[in-house]
Symmetry: C2
Subunit: 351 residues, 2 copies
C-alpha cells in the first residue's frame, strides 16, 4: 500500500503556458514537477492545466493552450474558467494543491475540500490582503526565509529539479558563470565586478528581463573575451555552460525566494558564491557547497578559496535536498499534516 | 405586505467606481438605480459596492473606493475580494442580482442561492464562453434585441432613469443635438452630415472615447457656430443642452444595446432620430416619439417632420417604460419568476 492510497489530489497549475512549459514558465515547471513526482510515488493525481499539457497524471483542462502563447484568449476568462472547473469538481478530491497564485483562494471557502497553496512569490504588496484573508487555508513556502508575517504556513517545501537534466562534472572549468533572468535583482553587474577583480573570465547567460539594465550596466562590459554574453540557455546549452564553470556567481541584490539557479549549478557539481540574502543560506551549505558573502570584496575572496569545495558535495546536496523525489516526499508530509488537521477539525466539530 | 416581504436580495455592483458614480460609470449607475428602486418598493436589499457608496439599502463592502479612482489598488485583487465576500455570505440571501459582468458566474455553481445576471454588454467575443457555460443560471437582457443566441434569458428589463433629473420642456429649441461617448459607433460624423444637409446648427457633447476619431472626423467640422463641441455634460449642463434641442440625433452605426441617451432626450421632451439598429426601435416609438431611419438621407427627411411629434408623448413614454420605478417593478417580475422556477426545481428534485 503506497502512502497516497485512497487519497485523490488535484494539482492546479497556471494556464499562461503549457505544463511543463516549452521554454519559460517557472510556476508551470514546478506544478509539473510536483505532479510527476507524486504520480511516481503512487498518488492519484489530477492535473488541472492547459489541454496540450503533458503528464502521467489524469489531465483536466478547459483552456486549450497557454494564453501567453495565444493572442485570441482573454487571460481573465481563461483563468476563471480554469479555476472554477476545478472548484466545481472539488468533492472528487481530498486535497487541492494550488500553484496558481491568489485568485483560487477567493473560491476556497465555498467548498469543503481543503486547499494547500504554494506561494511561489508575491508579485506585489497589493495582493497581500488576499493571502491574509484566507490564512485559515493552508500555505507552503518555498524557503523558510520567504515567509510573509501572519500567514498560516504548514511547511516549507524546496523546489526540486530533475537531476537527470544535469551532467555532473568532477573537473572544474576555468570561467566564472552567472545565469538567470537578466535583471538588477540578480546582480549581474556585481558579477562583472567580481570577475574583473578576480582576473577570471565571466560568462553571462539568460533572458533579458530588464533591457535598460542590460544595455547600460551589462553590455558595455561585454567584450566577447573576458566578459561574454551568450543569451538564453535551454537544458543542453546549460550543461555546456556549467562544464566551463569554475564557480557560479549568484550575487542577488534582494532576498532570494528560492533560487533555482543555485540548485542547478550544484547539480552539475559547480560551487556557488551567493549573497547572504533570503533563501541563499538554505540552498547553499556555506563552506561546503559554496560561500555566502555580503559584498563584492567577499565574493572576490570566495573565488580565491573555491578549490576547497568538494564538487561531489555540491551534487550530493541537490540529491538530498532539491531532487524531484525529495520535493514530492516533502509535499507528502505536508499533505499528511493537512489530513491530520482536517480530521481533528471534524472531531472537534463533532462531525 | 409588500411584494418583496421576507425575500433578501443582494445586488452586486462593480467596484471600478463609487455606486452611484461621481461622473462616468454606467454599470454602477444602473446597479444603484436598481438598488434604490427596490428599496423604495419595500424589498430587503444589500448592496455590495465600494465602501464610500451611497445607498438606502444595507451596504456591504471590502473595497474602500473605486480602483479606477485609486492607483494603489490591483483591480484584479479588488474584484475577486469583492465578489468572494458576497458569495461567502450567499446563504444570507434569497437571490443574488449580479451587475458585475462574467467573473461572478464562475463562483455561482459553488453556492445554492440563485443568481440573476443582467448582461449590460459583451465587451468581447472572448468572454462569451463564460456566459454559455453558466447558461443554467438566470440572465436578464437590457433590450430584446441585445440577446446572444443560446443563453437562458428570464426576461428583458430596460434601464430606468431618474425622471427628476430631467426638466420637461414643451417648447422645442433650434439646434440638433448629439451627445454620449464620442466614438465612431455612435455616429457623430453622420450627425454632422445631417446637420449640414438640414441647414440646422448641431451641438455635440460627451467624453472623447476615441481620440483619433474625434481629431480626424469631428473636430475639422467644428466651427463653434454651426457645429459646436461643448465637451462632457453632467446633469445640470445636460438640461441646458436639451433645452436647446430641436431633436436629438442618435445615428449609431452598430446595433444599440439599450441607448440611455434616447431615454434621457425623451425625458426632456426632445424627439429622437435614431438608426434602426438594435434596441432603438424598442426605446423610440417610431413616428410618435421620434423616427427610426436607415441612413443620412432618412435622417434629413426626419428632421423635416419633427414638428409632427408631440413632446409630451416623448416624456410620457419614458414615464411609462424607462423610469426607475418601472425598472424596479420589472425586475420584481423577473425575481418572482426565478423564485417560481426555483420552487419548482425543489419540488421536482423531491426536496
Amino acid at each position: 500500500m503506497t502512502i497516497g492510497e485512497g487519497k485523490r489530489i488535484a494539482v492546479l497549475s497556471p494556464v499562461a503556458w503549457r505544463t511543463p512549459p516549452r521554454a519559460y514558465g517557472a510556476w508551470e515547471t514546478v506544478a509539473s514537477n510536483i505532479t510527476e513526482g507524486l504520480v511516481r510515488r503512487g498518488w492519484d493525481v489530477t492535473l488541472f492545466a492547459t489541454t496540450e499539457s503533458i503528464t502521467k497524471a489524469k489531465l483536466s483542462s478547459v483552456v486549450p493552450c497557454g494564453y501567453a502563447e495565444d493572442d485570441s484568449q482573454d487571460p481573465k476568462v481563461s483563468e476563471c474558467m480554469h479555476i472554477s472547473e476545478l472548484f466545481e469538481r472539488a468533492d472528487e478530491f481530498d486535497l487541492i494543491h494550488n500553484n496558481f497564485d491568489f485568485l483560487p483562494l477567493t473560491y476556497s471557502r465555498l467548498i469543503s475540500t481543503p486547499m494547500l497553496t504554494t506561494i511561489h512569490g508575491f508579485s506585489s504588496e497589493a495582493i497581500m490582503p488576499v493571502f491574509h484573508k484566507y490564512s485559515d487555508s493552508y500555505y507552503a513556502s518555498i524557503s523558510d526565509s520567504d515567509r510573509a508575517e501572519g500567514l498560516n504556513y504548514v511547511g516549507t517545501v524546496y523546489n526540486g529539479i530533475d537531476l537527470s537534466d544535469f551532467v555532473f562534472s568532477e573537473t572544474p572549468g576555468e570561467a566564472l558563470v552567472a545565469f538567470g533572468r537578466i535583471h538588477p535583482d540578480k546582480g549581474f553587474h556585481l558579477a562583472i565586478d567580481v570577475a574583473k577583480r578576480s582576473g577570471r573570465k565571466l560568462i553571462i547567460a539568460g533572458i533579458v528581463q530588464d533591457q535598460r539594465y542590460f544595455d547600460e550596466d551589462i553590455m558595455p562590459h561585454v567584450d566577447g573575451k573576458n566578459i561574454k554574453f551568450i543569451g538564453p540557455v535551454g537544458p543542453p546549452e546549460r550543461d555546456d555552460l556549467l562544464k566551463q564553470a569554475y564557480a557560479v556567481l549568484h550575487l542577488n541584490t534582494i532576498p532570494e525566494r528560492f533560487g533555482l539557479v543555485m540548485a542547478e549549478s550544484m547539480a552539475a557539481g559547480v560551487p556557488v558564491i551567493a549573497m547572504d540574502l533570503g533563501s541563499c543560506r538554505e540552498v547553499i551549505a556555506d563552506g561546503e557547497t559554496g560561500f555566502l558573502v555580503d559584498d563584492v570584496a567577499g565574493a572576490v575572496e570566495a573565488v580565491g578559496k573555491i578549490d576547497t569545495i568538494s564538487r561531489a558535495s555540491c551534487r550530493r546536496r541537490v540529491e538530498e535536498k532539491f531532487s524531484l523525489d525529495v520535493m514530492a516526499a516533502n509535499y507528502e508530509k505536508v499533505y499528511q499534516e493537512i489530513f491530520r488537521r482536517e480530521a481533528l477539525k471534524k472531531v472537534m466539530s463533532g462531525v
